[in-house]
């Protein structure tokens, strides 16, 4: 006889995200933005910018994305699916044509969003993000009930069990725009809190992790930051992309990087960086964090100068970065200090450190960076690793530690290059980097061991090197058609291995 678990469809392997966007007429209203200092922007403009950004991320990561819009009618302009890079212009064009009008069928939209994420007997699987500035005044299919066993209106379905049937694994983040104290002046905070409460209670009853939140925003910057919880970094002026290096230069870089592994006392920062996969594994597959995930993006500085449209693409953080790249450090510092409250702390502190360092205020920079390290330690494992690496690069710069900087930059750039590749390829390479880092331990023992133990330590180190080299050979054979980025990463690891002698 088949058990329920055996007959259930397989759980999703990729992240599934559905954004529910309010297109009621009130979204045309402006949102104050005292931080920007420029003209006020309509709520819909800010939301559209954030949606573009989310789409780009989805195209990069390969996660599934769907968009639901609602007035009094619920529509699905982007059905849940993989976003292909080549389709981005069409989808973005479609989103730019979304014009607000009419009323808000919020509960119906949530019902449709849940349907997109429904996976048979596995219930609803994925993440819902609702962006709204109003009250539900047009739903015809669903409602939220004041009490769990409250009386149903005729013909309407209770939203809570519909969103959260048994075996589900769903998160809901509600971003409410404006103060909802008065009807039609902002989000219906009371109903939203009620919905979050009911979902939490039901999750507890079903033994599921509660993952529902409601957050109010009152400025354009806050709205953007809540929709795109970002950590953004840009390259340094003297950075040269790894793929531009001559083979002998690459060898020099690898030899430099190996020094960071061989001399841990002189390169303490290395011990702080973690491999994303390794971190994820140690945290456990079923771990759950209330902390929202942070989108991490790194923009390599190209020959044509700073990347275009930073403000448009990244909101207030983009504006800070723009000022920084233009060399207006004081203005950049002023801007970053105004982001307290809506930018993730780690992002704000990192940029404060980077700007202070550029201003040659070393003590202030070190203080901010120290705080950023502390904040980074609180992040969920899967987003922590790339952020730790960016902090490590800055710290290495501040300490003039070229070896650590080279090592971390190489790992970081490799992961960045592999962002669009098969996750298995990415994981395999990052695993190799992690194993390379582990060689620090066995190598160090060969330096510390006494005369009698030296041979034993050397044997262990050589065995560890051979093991990594064996994995490297398998990777060479399996990934021989994966292109220059993969080849470059494997070359780098191979030279580092030769240096660990």
């Amino acid at each position: 006889m088949q058990t329920e678990a055996e007959s259930a469809p397989p759980l999703p392997s990729r992240e599934r995200n559905v954004l529910l966007l309010d297109l009621s007429k009130s979204m045309l209203a402006p949102l104050p933005d005292p931080q920007g200092g420029g003209p006020e922007r309509q709520k819909i403009e800010v939301a559209r910018t954030a949606v573009f950004r989310i789409l780009q991320d989805s195209a990069q990561t390969g996660n599934l994305f769907g968009l639901v819009t609602f007035t009094e009618t619920v529509r699905v302009p982007v059905p849940l699916g993989e976003i292909h890079r080549e389709n981005l212009p069409y989808i973005e064009n479609l989103i730019s044509l979304l014009a607000p009008s009419g009323r808000s069928a919020i509960w119906d939209a949530l019902g449709v969003g849940a349907d997109l994420l429904r996976m048979g007997t596995n219930g609803v699987q994925g993440n819902l993000v609702l962006v709204t500035d109003g009250w539900d005044n047009a739903s015809t299919r669903f409602e939220t009930r004041g009490e769990p066993n409250g009386k149903a209106s005729e013909g309407k379905v209770d939203l809570t069990p519909y969103i959260l049937p048994a075996h589900s694994r769903v998160t809901l983040r509600i971003i409410g725009i404006g103060s909802g104290d008065e009807r039609d002046k902002g989000v219906d905070a009371a109903h939203m809190n009620q919905l979050v409460g009911q979902l939490t209670q039901r999750a507890v009853e079903l033994g599921l992790p509660p993952a529902f939140s409601f957050q109010m925003v009152s400025t354009g910057s806050q709205l953007f930051a809540q929709m795109v919880n970002a950590f953004l970094d840009v390259g340094y002026e003297d950075d040269r992309p790894i793929e531009e290096l001559h083979p002998e230069e690459l060898a020099h870089h690898a030899a430099n990087a190996a020094r960071a592994l061989k001399e841990p006392q002189q390169h303490a920062t290395v011990s702080r960086i973690k491999n994303a996969q390794a971190a994820g594994r140690s945290a456990g597959a079923d771990s759950y964090s209330e902390a929202p995930e942070i989108e991490v993006d790194f923009l390599a500085s190209g020959p044509g100068g700073p990347p275009a449209y930073l403000k448009e693409r990244y909101g207030p953080l983009g504006e800070v970065v723009e000022a920084y790249l233009a060399g207006h450090y004081d203005h950049a510092l002023e801007l970053i200090q105004k982001t307290q409250g809506f930018l993730p702390s780690v992002t704000r502190l990192y940029w404060e450190a980077r700007i202070q360092y550029a201003r040659r205020a070393v003590v202030e920079a070190a203080r901010a960076l120290l705080q950023a390290w502390t904040e980074a330690e609180k992040l969920p494992a899967n987003t922590q690793a790339p952020i730790l690496r960016r902090l490590a690069v800055l710290q290495a710069r501040m300490q003039n530690d070229k070896e650590t900087e080279t090592l971390v930059r190489f790992i970081d750039e490799t992961e960045h290059h592999l962002a669009n590749r098969d996750p298995k390829t990415r994981e395999r390479l990052m695993d190799l980097f992690a194993k390379l880092m582990e060689l620090r331990g066995t190598y160090q023992l060969t330096r510390l061991a006494g005369e009698g133990d030296l041979q034993d330590a050397a044997l262990k180190h050589e065995a560890a090197v051979e093991e990594v080299f064996s994995l490297l050979q398998d990777a060479r054979l399996d990934l021989s058609t994966e292109g220059a980025s993969v080849e470059g990463a494997l070359d780098f690891i191979e030279i580092c291995l030769a240096e660990m002698r």
Partner: protein, 386 residues
């Protein structure tokens, strides 16, 4: 005046002139590009009674008498077969072979041409590299036949063969570095698919890929039947890539000899580049009773010479001994400006300028690694027999 001739004989008429014995003991010489393989072979050929006057410094305690000599039963002491693509631009890359023989005496058959090592040094000239541009469109299989006295052997000596693939340090380094290429039998073949373990192999020109694959197969086959391996390490590599290649090769050779329980001897070539040691060589030239105190083990282990410290320590007890299996060699000690150091009859340095240079080239321990490899093969056999 003896004739000095070079033969060119095509593959289609190929027929072995040498007479290798079925039970020939085989020793493979391996090293990265420019590690000294060619010079090692050429000067060893000279040692085997082929009229190259040389001085070994510092001599062994037993007055330098090593029971190594040319194979007198075999006319051919050294055999070189060049494998080359006829036209490097031809994508089909058709391959031709040319064999040349270095012999101990003038040969009667005038239709075949020989490089006659019994010629005097002046006539013979300086044997340098091969006449064609190399590295990318050719490699050379080298076989040197010699005898090593077996103290208890009935014939007093055994036929031995020293082999390498010359002009192919890259092939050698790749073969040993990547164990996925290793052949299990003398009939095996390295496949195109496994060649992809070599970085960027797919991006090479087809003819080079084909040549490389053939070289790997040839090397794989002869090391598969080898009784011992001599690893040449160069201590003065300026390029980091070369250093990495050498370390990877050494690790691979250790893995290979350990897995097959083969004797391994290490020769640190170009010892004249070790300045500290060179000073002692100079003193040896002036003072023939002087014994060098340069300690190669200390150099390799404690001062990390050639980047081999930890790796060598790990191998102690796994088949090699750094005390007795590691030697310094230099085929031609330089005066420091790229000119060979000659000493005259009085033992003083001979002038290298002028019309005629009188004197003999100074060499360091060149034969010791080979003698040690032979000793270890015989020890191994004696242990097995007992």
């Amino acid at each position: 005046m003896p004739e000095v001739k070079v033969t060119t004989r095509r593959k289609s008429t190929a027929k072995k002139e040498s007479k290798p014995s079925v039970d020939t003991t085989r020793i493979a010489v391996v090293g990265i590009p420019a590690s000294g393989k060619t010079t090692y072979f050429r000067f060893l050929s000279g040692h085997f009674g082929l009229n190259l006057p040389i001085l070994y410094i510092p001599a062994r305690a037993d007055n330098g008498s090593l029971p190594l000599f040319g194979d007198l039963e075999n006319d051919v002491a050294l055999e070189e077969t060049t494998y080359e693509t006829t036209d490097p631009t031809d994508p089909e890359g058709s391959l031709e072979t040319t064999t040349r023989y270095y012999v101990n005496r003038p040969m009667e058959d005038r239709r075949k041409l020989w490089v006659e090592l019994s010629a005097g040094r002046d006539e013979q000239g300086i044997l340098t590299k091969y006449p064609l541009p190399t590295k990318f469109n050719q490699f050379v299989e080298m076989k040197m036949r010699f005898r090593y006295a077996a103290p208890e052997g009935e014939s007093g000596s055994r036929p031995m063969e020293l082999s390498t693939v010359d002009e192919a340090g890259g092939i050698i380094a790749d073969y040993f570095t990547y164990d996925r290429l290793w052949l299990d039998s003398a009939e095996g073949e390295v496949s195109e698919k496994t060649c992809r373990v070599i970085p960027h192999f797919d991006s090479w020109r087809p003819d080079r890929r084909d040549l490389w694959k053939r070289g790997l197969t040839l090397l794989g086959r002869f090391v598969c039947g080898a009784d011992a391996i001599i690893l040449l390490l160069s201590p003065g590599l300026p390029s980091l890539r070369d250093q990495a290649q050498q370390v990877n090769l050494a690790r691979g050779v250790f893995r290979y000899t350990h897995a097959r329980n083969l004797p391994l001897v290490i020769a640190i070539s170009k010892a004249d580049k070790l300045k500290e040691f060179y000073g002692e060589v100079e003193q040896s030239v002036r003072e023939r009773t002087f014994r060098s105190s340069f300690d190669p083990v200390d150099f390799l282990l404690r001062r990390d010479g050639a980047g081999m410290g930890t790796i060598l320590v790990a191998q102690e007890g796994r088949g090699i001994s750094t005390k007795s299996d590691v030697f310094l060699i230099s085929s031609a000690v330089s005066t420091g400006e790229g000119h060979p150091l000659f000493i005259g009859e009085t033992g003083d340095e001979a002038p290298s300028a002028g019309s005629v240079t009188m004197g003999v080239p100074v060499m360091v321990n060149t034969t010791l690694p080979l003698a040690r490899a032979c000793e270890r093969i015989l020890e191994r056999r004696a242990t097995k027999e007992s």
